[in-house]
Symmetry: D3
Subunit: 254 residues, 6 copies
């Protein structure tokens, strides 16, 4: 039995709101339980210098947390004058996941910059970022199609991508860990998958107790189930109106 | 006639939501027209080293913008490795305004750290920050009283403080400038006032056309009117339930 | 009665020396009581990249203090690796004040960089910087006219600008605060004015006790008086020979 | 057929030399094909401040490349003033892998700092770092036992850990990728395993083509085989004399 | 014949003014030809942490240039966020020279921080800094004796130290190079000597043409002559009143 | 009698290995007693921007130490975010020494970047760097000649340069100080000389006891002897095969 009463293979309530802010070409607020991330996608009709004349586009991502997203205040990285290792690691993960489903040729001489800012953190902020950022990216590509920057948003986006965390708590594999579980997890794994059910990224860490091949299998089963559910929500959100909040079936009204 | 149809002495619609995130001791989302700022107050029962053994508390503030709060994406200050001059100037302004209404002796050996993060920017972000931060500060002090860290939240907070921008557009003094007006203003002034109608801070800049004593008078009249209205909302918000959004009379449903 | 025997509306002795160093196009040592600031103006016949092709010039300013300008040694900002908030705030203030009296079209594709380095600090360093920098700027523009970079120094400089501090000490409004008064001031205000007596910048802070409309009026009267006297000196200095020190009437020989 | 003539499941020649430099408590030069990493372990009989009074030790790691370890010179991170994302990501990975096999209680109030400096890079620098660093760590713990800082090096080190890269090249899973293969890999995975054959860390990235569950299985089989061979070498190296180079069976004389 | 009409073994006019600013324990303006450096000595009755409980004092130095000390404006190191190599090299040189004549035991648990800020640069700024800083240091030690921080300023300062530049211009050894010569020098040497005529520091660089043993001899003869003259001035300055300017015999009135 | 049994005028055993790593155009491992430095020379057929269109080449150098090259671990400069004064001072010294023997015109529009990374430090790391770097530079220039980037390596390199340390220990002048002597030296001098026996750089520091003209003479005699021996080795190394280690006569097998 989990602290919040969920089954081992159950996601927390998820809510996705497109168009949460007005300026960005894509702007999505994603809420997974207590975790709340604002994902924006900024489309610019140029590519970084090193990518010039390649005919290929580029997608990059930056992740950050507000100082009081967490139960204790964290000092701002701008004030400390440098971006920490955890932040960079997550930013790179998000960028790779999204690039993994973008057709760079179809994107052409254009760049999308993803920003994932955690407004409230309760575990799984990096996976929520991937899941929300994909929706923001899709919106930005639709915008670019409407504006004539790219021919087809559909072609530029070769697949969906979502991500979810799984872990082993007291010897039991679990899906979608909130902070209270995450901090107790012996094994912690983040799994990003495409709409076809293939893996884009697997990051499993067992600093506190190694895991074997069988446990890995169970964890990947859970992650597959979770990602399928998240991808249904992503599609439902893209079909909804901007400003409308799409909720997972088991999500209570907020 | 202003682009959004307001009278010269009319505020934009204001919405204040307390308890917008759960972790901070005070957490307020303030919306002034299109400007949206998350103001959090973090209470810690210690003071900075230089303040030790003084018997006095301390209040400090940091301001920042999300990269895509603006119509063009701004590079993160954490990535650039330093906090810009504008950011520091505003952080210092917010800190001074709040300290101006705190009784440091009644606060005792405790510190409150204010964070104002602009989620969406449409002019007046620094004044919205002051106005929202005061509500978050009041909430944090109530929390501290409940927890026994301070004897009386009321004594620790000697007055209200709110702030509003005024400016001269095409020769006409105006209250509460959105971005489209702010960027055309010849004179730009931010005025922070206490609940008693006294000034805590006046910052008037006339890089584009000096102003005379008469214009100053008119601007201060407008600011006084605006601050009075904002202070009514601050008090209504503190009387409402956390999570409930308090709106100015002329604010349409969002 | 003030510690240095001045009346409430009396400036400290002021001394202005043009051509204090040889390399800069404008180089002015300004001394206001114990405060001593070296203001240099560097003219370059190019503009920053973002200003290219606008036909407009640019004026910018940087302020700094020598480590032992103050009674306690301050660590160098270069060694600490970042420019502090106070320094940035003052640099921006000086830049705005000077830009407020420059005709950018008449300046053309040229830039003037102002540097104000405080050699000795005894209160009012930012206002002394503005006052001295204007003289250095005027000298640099005359140089540019002589060299043919601009057509007319007079047209490029649309007005004078000077600045002075005022404050409320023990309830009494005072002009031109030295450090010993400044640190006790309940209200502290810096006022920059043009040669026509209009305001370029008003920065009033009342962290220690709010001030009302009447007090503001008195403070602005004092500032007006002080700025008028400073502007007489600025003009006398520009009429004098480089290297010659111009003194306020009440200034004793140094 | 691979460019260097290896079979798909064959490691490159490996050479491990303990005591390569004299100062560190553990100092290991590991060579995997053209990749050459100097791994040092610095033992200090104190723990970081945040770990004080916990009775637990700490192990941390830093990774870096010499500027000309690569075919093009890379600018120094010290000169650029910040540690890049890739460097931080790898440093964190190495630290987690080693902590995963250390008994922090048995290590007691002591810290080991691992430094992995890449002298020559030809793919797999992070996995070579993990494999070499474990040997350096073992040496440092033996030193600490001899000096009486810890009771038992054996108890402090609960298992072996080694790491190897695997990837999919042109649709074929391969073990231990040199740079020429790594840069063409569609899927790239680093797998760290304990002496018992359990996983400490799995990092699989498929930026260029997602992979499915079957491919994952094959990759993990290859990684298991590679890690077993590396762990035999680690043990042989610890049994050899310091300064002596231990070579994999198929390694030609260098 | 040199551009300024001096003989090869002649110093530029030197002027030393003690007590040029009021706050520091030692404050000296030294002018060597067009080079003008403000040297301050800050005495603090504590030592850096690493020096604690040694019974020994410490002397350290920092050198910097105002942005417009030179004919072209140099960007501030504070703004660039780091201290350049040249600045650090010179700061370290000054520190070593002064420490070379301080009796650290007699200085006791006290520190002197030297700041050398170049107000105007015309060659030889580092040697002028050493020469001026010694006078400031002597003043600070006298102050410390008066205040009872040390027993004897004379014992704490074991000797004089001064420095001068020499160089080979078009094959001819010359004493005390101004900028116009320095930039053409094939060999450039800075020589710091004690009151006894011994060497504290020799830094000779021949990036543009190596020099032989004979040339070295001639250069050291010139440096010896120059340093003797500078040391006479240092002593005359210490005998004069604060505020009084001591000039070398051949110095014209400024 | 010296701790390692050498005579006062005897070098430590020296070993030079060219081609120690494969990627750089020049790659030399130099070992002087316990000091071990990897010197690489990176040739690029472009010059820095400020050197463009001058027809002249450029040579620059960077020096660094691995964190555990020393008996105590030193924090990485990349992690501390800035390059220390000592590092910059040495980098600049190496650059000047090498530039002193390069014919920039013959080098043409090409740049060589020297990297000296200390793998193990036992005194004299900066002089070993100069000596080893010259061999790496020679190799890079030969490479450039073979590739047709320059016409003649011989013309581009106008002379040899090597460097050695000398010092006064307990009143006795000594050649080539290891760490244990260096830290006790009263006078410490680094002397770089050309193949013709002229000086490129002399840096003598006597923080702990000034030295007189006679002592200087003896020290320069020692340095001359040491540099001659080092230059024989440099030439023998260039005549040997890459990968082969050239040893000084008195060097025992390692």
């Amino acid at each position: 039995i989990r602290p919040d009463g969920r089954a081992a293979d159950e996601l927390r309530p998820v809510r996705i709101t497109r168009g949460w802010t007005q300026a960005p070409e894509g702007s999505v607020l994603i809420e997974c339980g207590g975790t709340r991330v604002l994902c924006t996608a900024s489309f610019t009709p140029t590519v970084p210098r090193w990518r010039k004349d390649s005919g290929l586009g580029w997608v990059t991502a930056e992740y950050a947390m507000l100082p009081r997203a967490t139960s204790e205040r964290t000092a701002r990285e701008s004030v400390r004058g440098k971006v920490g290792g955890r932040t960079q690691e997550i930013s790179r993960l998000i960028g790779r996941c999204l690039r993994g489903v973008v057709n760079m040729k179809a994107l052409g001489d254009n760049q999308v910059q993803i920003d994932c800012d955690v407004l409230q953190a309760d575990g799984g902020t990096r996976t929520a970022s991937v899941t929300g950022a994909w929706v923001a990216l899709a919106d930005a590509l639709r915008w670019a199609e409407r504006k004539g920057h790219i021919k087809s948003a559909e072609r530029a986006l070769s697949s969906q991508v979502s991500a979810v965390s799984v872990g082993v708590i007291d010897g039991r594999p679990m899906l979608d860990l909130p902070y209270v579980e995450d901090s107790r997890a012996m094994t912690d794994m983040n799994v990003a998958m495409t709409g076809e059910g293939d893996f884009i990224e697997i990051q499993g860490t067992a600093e506190h107790r190694p895991f074997n091949r069988d446990e890995l299998g169970t964890l990947l089963d859970l992650a597959t189930k979770g990602n399928k559910a998240l991808q249904v929500l992503q599609r439902r959100s893209l079909d909804a109106e901007p400003g409308q909040t799409v909720r997972s079936a088991d999500a209570k009204e907020g």
